[in-house]
């Protein structure tokens, strides 16, 4: 059997990401044993410093950093376990789960290089132009900078 292409699925804790994961499991991994792809699920864990921003007065204490770090770790664990549940409920067992520290944009693009992925799949928050400019868009960044094909799965605004 030819070796499988690698598909990276980028997850955060939002529903949009899990909708995307659900979609690709339906499209590419059923029947689960016969898929063309190897799935790697990656959650990017942002560093506490960037999560808070360079704090103003009173935020520089290490206590806050610890709390944020603990919260981020818990979130990461929740994301991975939810992803695992979803995959096993679809009988997809050949999945690799990774939590990588760093900003989501860079993490995803580097992961593409590291795993020699042929597709990077992302959910999309569906921000409008303004929000996208202010909050930034990981899917936008990845579209431009990832070296592989990029698939953006959007959660439909109304369920048809």
């Amino acid at each position: 059997m030819a070796d499988k292409q690698v598909m990276i699925m980028a997850l955060d804790e939002s529903d949009h990401s899990f909708y995307a994961l659900d979609w690709i499991l339906t499209q590419f991994f059923s029947p689960p044993s016969d898929s063309a792809f190897k799935l790697i699920i990656i959650h990017a864990k942002t560093s506490p410093v960037s999560a808070i921003g360079l704090g103003g007065p009173g935020l520089g204490s290490t206590d806050v950093l610890h709390l944020v770090e603990a919260d981020l770790t818990k979130t990461a664990e929740k994301v991975i376990s939810r992803a695992k549940d979803l995959c096993t409920s679809r009988s997809v067992t050949d999945v690799q789960y990774e939590v990588i520290k760093g900003d989501a944009r860079n993490v995803m693009c580097e992961a593409v290089e590291k795993f020699h992925a042929s597709v990077l799949t992302l959910g999309s928050h569906g921000y409008g132009a303004f929000k996208r400019a202010v909050l930034g868009s990981v899917s936008d960044y990845c579209c431009h900078h990832a070296r592989c094909s990029v698939m953006i799965v959007k959660k439909p605004k109304q369920i048809n």
Partner: protein, 196 residues
């Protein structure tokens, strides 16, 4: 509403019937994946088509399962019937219009014949669709109207500045289309050996 000239033609061998676009969830609904592939004459879009064919339809099709369907969309930019040289406005003569239309039709035909050949080799049912107008808008509209499950579009890999000036259909579509979109990038030169 702006005028849309749509011609649909099906492959001769397959004779694809137009399935009613119902959204009722049936048992086979899952396997009838409708993939829309945006085509122009660039190599990027043929590479995108090839990628889609290789990766979505590789498994042998079960006899009871409906194979997925590919719809090839080509959008022709509308030819302005008048020309603006530096001087006074010159209207194109009807014969010029005709020859441009002919050239466009020929262009579309050659794109589709090559694309359909690729689909036939993989034994995939394919339909073609020719639209007129601004490619970005038309592709998004087509994806919505046809209830596509996935839109596949090639990318020229333009840098940020070029993208701002020349525009990028794939960028626009990524933001505005309602369905999942796959942007296929041209292979980096060093990875040529990875193909096939």
């Amino acid at each position: 509403m702006d005028t849309t000239t749509a011609e649909t033609s099906s492959t001769g061998a397959e004779g694809a019937a137009h399935q009613p676009l119902t959204t009722a969830a049936t048992a086979e609904e899952k396997s009838k994946t409708k993939v829309l592939v945006a085509m122009d004459e660039s190599d990027g879009s043929f590479y995108a088509l090839k990628w889609a064919l290789d990766h979505f339809f590789w498994y042998p099709i079960q006899p009871d399962q409906e194979p997925g369907m590919i719809i090839l969309v080509h959008v022709q930019p509308i030819f302005q019937p008048f020309i603006y040289p530096a001087g006074p406005v010159v209207y194109a003569t009807p014969s010029m219009l005709d020859s441009v239309k002919q050239a466009q039709a020929q262009n579309a035909a050659s794109i589709f014949s090559r694309a359909l050949q690729m689909c036939k080799e993989k034994k995939i049912k394919a339909e073609t669709l020719i639209l007129e107008g601004d490619p970005k808008d038309r592709i998004c509209q087509a994806a919505e109207q046809l209830h596509a499950d996935l839109l596949v579009i090639g990318s020229r890999g333009l840098g940020t500045i070029k993208r701002a000036f020349l525009g990028s259909a794939s960028n626009y579509c990524a933001h505005h289309v309602q369905c999942p979109i796959l942007i296929v990038k041209p292979p980096p030169p060093s990875k040529e050996s990875h193909l096939e």
